[in-house]
Symmetry: C2
Subunit: 444 residues, 2 copies
C-alpha cells in the first residue's frame, strides 16, 4: 500500500512555506475562516498567508489584524494582488457566481508574478460549463498547477472505500444505489439564508453541489466515469415559507428557482454497472434511513456509506463493509468442479466464496470534523506534492488531473469533467433523453 | 372506513358456490396447487372446482383423485372444457408464454357456455402488450368479468399503507425510493430451474414480474399512474453457472437473455412526485439492507415497506409509519402567523407540525404466509363481489377495472395498463428516451 500512506507534512520542510494569497478570507464570516484558515494554521511550516485581496481594504486590514497575519499585505485591486511576487498560491473562496469575473482578470494580471505556481478554487468552478472551460484553459495556458476543492476525495471513509474496492475486497461491482437529502432545498427557508443559494444559475444548487460532490466521490471510489445517464430535475417547491431563527414562520413567502429533487440513473463505463441515484430537498428529513446512503454491491462483498446529511464531502460518515478478506480468498479449483470433488466444493461454496469466512467491519472516527478535516487533508496533499514529502522518485512538477489516483489532489480538469456531467444532467432533463457521456473526460 | 372492512365470506352464501374450471392445477407440482388450491379449499362454500383441463387427461384424472375433487370432471380438449355449462369461472395458471394460444380459442369456445361469468388469469397476462390487448378485447366482447392475479393489492401491508396515505397521515407525497432484489436473475442457476424463466419474451422476467408487481403496488398505494418514465435495462450476466441442489457448480454454463438489472425513474401524475427505482438480480444478496425497500416520504410523515425478497406480492412485509395521527393535526392558523402569535406557533412548530406528537408504528403479522395469503384474499374479494357479502347497495354486476379502489380486485384492464408500462420500460431503454406515459390508462 504505497498510496494512501500517512502524510509526512509534519516534518518541517527544508524550503520556505508556500506563500498564500487569499481571496475570500474574512475574520468576520464565511466558509474560508472555518475551514481553510484552520488548515493553514495547522500547517504553518508549509503554508503562510502573505496577501489578502478585498476591494474593501478595511475588511482585509481588519482580518489581518484580527488573525494576526503578520506576514500578510492587504490589496484592494485585483491587479496589485495578482502581480505581487510574494505569492506562490492563490486561493479563491467566494460566491461561485463571482468566480468567472474574478478569475479571468486575475489570471491575466498574474502573468507579472513569476512565483505564482498554484491556483486553488472552491467547487463549483463556475456557473456554467462554458465558463468552467474558459477558466480551465486560461489557467492551463498560464502554466499553473490547479486545485479544486472536491475535498471529499480526501475523506478517510472515501479513501478506505476506494481502497477496499481497488484491492478486490468486494469483487466486481454489481450495482450501486445512492440516496441523499440535500437539506435546505425544502418547504422553508431561514430568514438569514443568502438568497443566491435559491436562484438557479448561481452555481450552488442540489445538482451542482449536493449531487456534484457525491457523484464525484462515487466515480473516484469506483475508478470509473459514466457511459450514459438520464436525469429528471424537479422544482416542486417553487415557493418557500420564510422562518426566523426560532423556527417560526414570518408569513413571508419567497420564490425558489433551484431544483428540490433530482432523479439520476446511469451506467458506469467500467463494467456497465447500473447506478441509481436520487437527491431530495425538503424537511421533514427521512425518518427510516440516513440522509446520505451509498450502497455498493459487489460479487464478493458489499459497501455502505452513511451520513447524516446529503453532503458527503463535509459530513462525518460511517463505512460498513461486508465480505471476505482479499487474502483469505480460497484458491479457486474449477478443474475439479465436476462433482467428484464435492467435499472440497462444499467447503468453499459455489463461488469459491466461503460464507463462514465472511466478515463485517465498521469504520467510523467518532470525533472526526469532516467540515474542516477534509479541507485540511486537501492542504496536506498540496504540501505533500510541493515538498515531495513522500519522496516519490521522479515526481513531476505538474499534473493535469488527479483522475482516480490515490495520490495528488483534484484539479480544474477534474472540475471541468464534473461540470460537464452536471451540464449533461440538466440537458438530459430538458431533452428527455438518455445521454452518452462517455467522452466527457476528454481534454478541452 | 367503509372500504377495507373485514370480508364477510365466512358467512355461508344463500346461493351455490362459484363453479371453477381450472387450467394448470396439478396435484404434482406448480404454483396453483400451493396457492389457488388452498384458497379454494378454505372458501369451499364460495368456490367449488368442477372442471379440470389438461391435454394429458391422465394428469387431470390423477389430480381429481388425489385432491378428492368429487365434483370435478376432467377435460382433454379446450373446446369441451370451455363449453361446459358446469363452469362459472375459468382460472388460468400456466406458463405465461402459453396464455395467448390458450386464451384465444378458449374465449371463442366459451361462447357456448351460458353460465361463464369470470375469467381469472395469472400475471403476466401475455408475452407482449399486443397480445395482452387482444386478450383484453376478446374477454370484454365475451362479456366476462375478469380478474388478474396482481394479488399484492390484497396484501394487508399494502392496504394499510394505502389507507395511511389516503387518509392524509403522511401529508402530500414528496418523493419515493424503491430498491428490490429479484433473487434468481444472478450469476448462478439451479439445475432444476425451468429454462423459460431465463429467456426473454416468455413473459417472466425482472421487469415484467418483479418490477411489474411492485410498481403496480406503488401506483395502487399512491393512487397515481406515472406521467413520464425513463429506464435502463441490463443483461450484465449473459451466462450463468449451473449449480446442483447442494449449491455445487456442475461446470455447465448456460446463456441467459432476461435482464438482471433495471434502473427506472419517473414522475407520478398526481403531484409530480419523483420516483427512483432499481431492481437487481444476482447473489450475494444485499448485506446492509432488505431485498425489498419502498420508502415513501411525505410532508407530514414517512412510510417504509421492507421485505426479504424483491417480490412484494408474495413476501411477508414490515410496514413502518412515522408521522402524526391524522386526527391530531393541530388546527392550522395561518392568519395569525404574522409573528404576533409566536407562542402558539412555537407549540405547533413551523408547519403546524408538532414533533412532540410524532408517533411511530410498525405493522407486521409474524406468521402471515404471503405466498398463499394474498391469493386467498384475492379469492375472498371475488366472493365478496359475487355474493355481495358487504351488502353494498346498487353493486354493479360488472366493472371494467379496479383502478385505485379499495374494494374489488384487479382486472385484465388493470393488467393491460401495467403491460403498457412494462412495454414503455423496455422501449425507453431501447430508444434512450424519457417517455410520456400519461395516457396509458386509456381503454383500448
Amino acid at each position: 500500500m504505497d498510496y494512501n500512506k500517512r502524510s509526512s507534512v509534519s516534518t518541517v520542510p527544508n524550503t520556505g512555506p508556500i506563500r498564500v494569497g487569499f481571496i475570500g478570507l474574512s475574520s468576520f464570516k464565511g466558509w474560508a475562516i472555518k475551514t481553510h484558515y484552520p488548515a493553514i494554521l495547522q500547517l504553518s511550516s508549509q503554508f503562510q498567508i502573505t496577501a489578502l485581496y478585498n476591494p474593501d481594504i478595511g475588511t482585509a486590514l481588519s482580518t489581518i489584524r484580527t488573525l494576526k497575519l503578520s506576514n500578510a499585505t492587504a490589496y484592494s485591486t485585483l491587479e496589485s494582488f495578482a502581480s505581487s511576487a510574494n505569492v506562490d498560491m492563490i486561493v479563491l473562496s467566494i460566491q461561485v457566481s463571482k468566480n468567472f469575473e474574478t478569475l479571468i482578470p486575475l489570471l491575466e494580471y498574474s502573468k507579472t508574478n513569476p512565483n505564482l505556481k498554484y491556483l486553488f478554487v472552491e467547487w463549483a468552478l463556475a456557473c456554467s460549463v462554458q465558463e468552467a472551460e474558459t477558466i480551465y484553459k486560461m489557467a492551463a495556458e498560464r502554466g499553473l498547477q490547479t486545485i479544486i476543492s472536491l475535498q471529499g476525495r480526501k475523506s478517510p471513509y472515501i479513501l478506505r472505500a476506494k481502497e477496499l474496492i481497488h484491492e478486490g475486497y468486494i469483487g466486481d461491482i454489481n450495482s450501486i444505489e445512492i440516496a441523499g437529502n440535500g437539506g435546505w432545498y425544502g418547504y422553508e427557508r431561514l430568514q438569514k439564508s443568502p438568497s443566491y443559494i435559491y436562484e438557479l444559475g448561481k452555481g450552488v444548487d442540489l445538482v451542482t453541489t449536493a449531487f456534484g460532490h457525491t457523484i464525484d466521490l462515487l466515480q473516484y471510489m469506483t475508478g470509473s466515469y459514466f457511459s450514459r445517464i438520464n436525469s429528471m430535475v424537479f422544482n416542486n417547491i417553487p415557493e418557500q415559507d420564510v422562518i426566523d431563527e426560532h423556527g417560526n414562520r414570518t408569513g413571508q413567502r419567497v420564490s425558489k428557482t433551484v431544483p428540490d429533487h433530482l432523479l439520476f440513473q446511469g451506467t458506469l463505463l467500467n463494467g456497465n454497472v447500473p447506478v441509481s441515484c436520487s437527491f431530495k430537498g425538503g424537511k421533514p428529513t427521512k425518518k427510516f434511513t440516513k440522509n446520505l446512503v451509498i450502497d455498493i454491491h459487489g460479487t464478493k462483498g458489499d459497501l455502505k456509506l452513511e451520513g447524516d446529511a446529503g453532503f458527503a464531502e463535509m459530513s462525518n460518515l460511517v463505512l460498513y463493509y461486508s465480505g471476505i478478506r482479499a487474502n483469505d480468498y480460497p484458491v479457486t479449483n474449477n478443474n475439479n468442479s465436476n462433482g467428484n470433488d464435492s467435499t472440497n466444493n462444499n467447503n468453499n461454496g459455489p463461488n469459491g466464496y466461503d460464507a463462514g469466512k465472511e466478515i463485517m467491519e465498521v469504520y467510523h472516527l467518532r470525533n472526526y470534523n469532516a467540515v474542516n478535516g477534509n479541507i485540511f487533508r486537501l492542504y496536506q496533499s498540496i504540501a505533500d506534492f510541493h515538498f515531495n514529502t513522500k519522496q516519490i522518485p521522479h515526481l513531476p512538477t505538474q499534473f493535469i488531473m488527479q483522475g482516480f489516483e490515490f495520490e495528488g489532489f483534484p484539479t480544474l480538469m477534474d472540475a471541468l469533467i464534473l461540470h460537464r456531467l452536471v451540464d449533461n444532467v440538466y440537458r438530459s432533463n430538458i431533452l428527455g433523453s438518455t445521454l452518452d457521456v462517455s467522452s466527457i473526460c476528454r481534454y478541452p
